[in-house]
């Protein structure tokens, strides 16, 4: 009895509870509406499709936590992808090409970080500029014609399985867990929260805020590139128009997951739930043959609703804990 109570209390303390409830409700509705939804094959599909968003969203969460944002991730994914495929075709080897792509990610991340930290400019406008330019480069490099990959085995990154689990899901899970750990258990994670919460105080505490920001920008870019690599493996070609509007989806998922735009507040678990809500929704609406225009309407409405319930709960919880104090339920 008591154990159940304690378990329940623990559950009710999870920050992202209402979001998780929203996700479960959506899953239940989708399962009721389409017999295809709750099948192993489809669920694996949902996970695989969400994995690329999750990877980029993980990087973006770190960046939002540190108080910055990156709009260039979609363009970067495309640009690095076309160069990667070109290099791959030339060398007929996968690894060097992937490394080149990641190198580009590091470069763009460093550039973003440099401009933002050195000149102290809002990252939104800087990365908006980078987004525009880099997309232009992707088109110029390819002359707007996708580059076919000719190396066998590359598609495995996007379409392969280990046992029943798609490889992108595994990559996403590994990166997610790593970052979760990083954020929660390392000094670097602590510094991320501190720098995003109050930059002045972070400086006054001896934190190298610019270094933390730079690393985070680079991580975000590299994660975007990894998403791009998986997407590219899925389509087995370097597409200059890859991941258009990706930044929007990713940022929407992160903010839906409760991360604040102003830095210092948010969790990766929230991001995971945010990504899954959008992923399940996309998949479920298609399975139910909802017209793409109605999909937009529903997607927008669900985003707003989910954020409303989530916020209401956070506000209510303060009140509830207050009552618990009165009942002596919370110990000093």
């Amino acid at each position: 009895m008591n154990r159940i109570k304690r378990g329940w209390k623990k559950i009710s303390e999870i920050d992202e509870l209402m979001l998780i409830v929203a996700l479960v409700v959506i899953i239940i509705i989708m399962s009721l509406m389409s017999e295809y939804f709750f099948t192993g094959k489809n669920l694996m599909n949902v996970l695989r499709q969400s994995s690329t968003t999750l990877i980029a969203a993980t990087g973006m969460t770190l960046l939002l936590l540190v108080g910055e944002v990156d709009l260039s991730i979609g363009s970067l994914a495309a640009f690095s992808a076309v160069i990667m495929v070109d290099v791959m075709n030339m060398t007929q080897a996968i690894l060097p090409a992937v490394l080149v792509a990641i190198g580009i990610g590091v470069g763009v991340g460093l550039f973003n970080a440099f401009v933002v930290t050195k000149f102290n400019i809002a990252s939104l406008i800087v990365t908006l500029g980078v987004m525009t330019s880099v997309r232009g480069f992707a088109y110029i490099y390819t002359n707007a014609i996708a580059i076919q990959n000719t190396v066998d085995g590359f598609t495995v990154i996007g379409n392969g399985y280990v046992g029943p689990i798609p490889i992108p899901v595994i990559i996403a899970a590994v990166l997610f867990v790593l970052c979760y750990f990083l954020l929660k258990y390392t000094t670097f994670g602590r510094y991320i929260y501190a720098s995003g919460d109050n930059k002045n105080a972070a400086l006054a505490s001896g934190i190298n805020v610019n270094k933390i920001k730079t690393i985070t920008f680079v991580l975000c870019s590299v994660f975007a590139v990894i998403s791009g690599i998986i997407l590219t493996a899925r389509v087995n070609s370097g597409q200059p128009n890859l991941a258009q509007g990706f930044e929007f989806t990713v940022i929407a998922a992160v903010i839906l997951g409760g991360t604040s735009l102003s830095g210092g507040q948010g969790t990766l678990i929230g991001t995971l739930v945010g990504v899954l809500i959008l992923g399940v929704l996309d998949n479920g609406l298609v399975l139910n043959d909802v017209s793409s225009f109605w999909q937009d309407v529903v997607r927008g409405a669900v985003i707003i609703l989910a954020v409303i319930i989530d916020t209401r709960r956070t506000q209510k919880r303060e009140k509830i804990s207050r009552r618990l104090v009165e009942q002596g339920a919370v110990s000093q």
Binding site: Y185, T186, T187, F188, R190, Y193, A194, D197, N198, N200, A201, A202, L203, A204, S205, G206, I207, N208, G264, Q265, E318, S321, R322, L324, V325, E326, V330, Q332
Partner: protein, 493 residues
Amino acid sequence: MGKILLRAENITKDFPGVKALDHVKFELEKGEVHALLGENGAGKSTLIKILCGVYHQDSGQIYVDDKPAEINSAKDALDLGISTIHQELNIADNLSVAENIFFGRLPNKRGLVDRKSLVRDAKKILDRIGLQVDPQTKARFLSIAKKQMLEIGKSLSLNARVIIMDEPTSSLSPEEIDTLFDIIRELKRQQISIIYISHKLEEIFEVCDRITVLRDGQYIGTAQTGQTNKEELIKMMVGREANIDYKRNCSTCGKTILQVKELTTDKIKKVSFEVKAGEIVGFSGLMGAGKSEIARALFGLDEVRCGTVALDGKTLDKVTPICCMQQGIGYVPEDRKADGLFLNLTVGENMSVSSINQFTKGPVINKKAEMVSSQEQVAQLKIKTPSLKQKIRNLSGGNQQKAIIARWLLKSGLKLLIIDEPTRGIDVGAKFEIYTILSQLAQNGVALLVMSSEIEELTNMCDRIIVMREGRISAVLNNEEADQTSIMKYSVK
């Protein structure tokens, strides 16, 4: 005496993990200055936040003019004639000084801002509070002390019947405090009532008529100022006798830790001095004299134009916060909210942020070790918090200050600690605990630089006091020479 203007009965307020107020009563007469006194976290700020509509009480009733009053927003309070100067400043940085003063009530003709009368009226207020700034300056250019004065001007402009001042003097120097008291006496003559919160007992005895004491969220009692004394008040506050006389036995020893030569920034000019291990050096001076600037420069927060800083005999080639910290320098900033606190992080995380490297196994934080050490500091400094996991924004001002001091007490290998206004917002009892802790630190060989606007604090604690004037050192006094008059002499010229 006058008639009762405001009455609060049985006010109760709970926060998660804390009963901030427990059936508290409070009475304010017309034209009186009524002090609210209590330790850090006693519930003073909470009570006044209820009176001015920031919070709503869980139970209890407020009466204004003997009529029950429902105060649900700041606007309700203002409509009832209650205006408040909060402990944490509320200034819109990008608006002009004049606009800040008349915030919310800009003089207007049919919706258009009447700039002329705005500037004129603002000027009047500024003159009254003795603040020498152009009313059209943006507020962000003001120092924290000037902002504090601005807050006072703001509430004067409201023509309120009740003005609540939550620690208005915590960042003012004696000069401005005098100005403030003149203002308070004048307000009193105009039959305006004032609720005055301060941890400085002298001030309370100087201006207040009555004193209400809170302890742990409970009403303890109300006394007439003339019929009580320090000792009695402190006993009411802390619940026992407490020794508040503190005089450190000065004994300078050890080798030179810090050597500053001709340090110059935008604000300070050719500042040179030395500090030995175990020495406590105080910095005194008027507001704007450059005390805080020395602190900021030494910790690498302001750009050093020329001059050198040597630690342990080694000249630092670059003074940056990161270098400073690695070399064993710590810094407690003056403006807690802007430069000290991570409002959304927990008390524990706020405390350990500068020493987190000491609690790692490989790259991983050993949370247990972190908790244990932090908990020790919570106990030592008597920080009032339900747990280390409480968000620091929910702590009372004084307890936040303690947590920030604890940040550097946790740091191992500390050689030099720079503290700007160490006891800003800290209650009398705790003040002396902090003095004790600081002198213990000195005894362990740490050099301390203490910037303070409270001369008594410096004379009680420091081996030497450096007096600043307009960015330059005007005198260096040793413990015997330093007293109120000598310091003031060098401060003003």
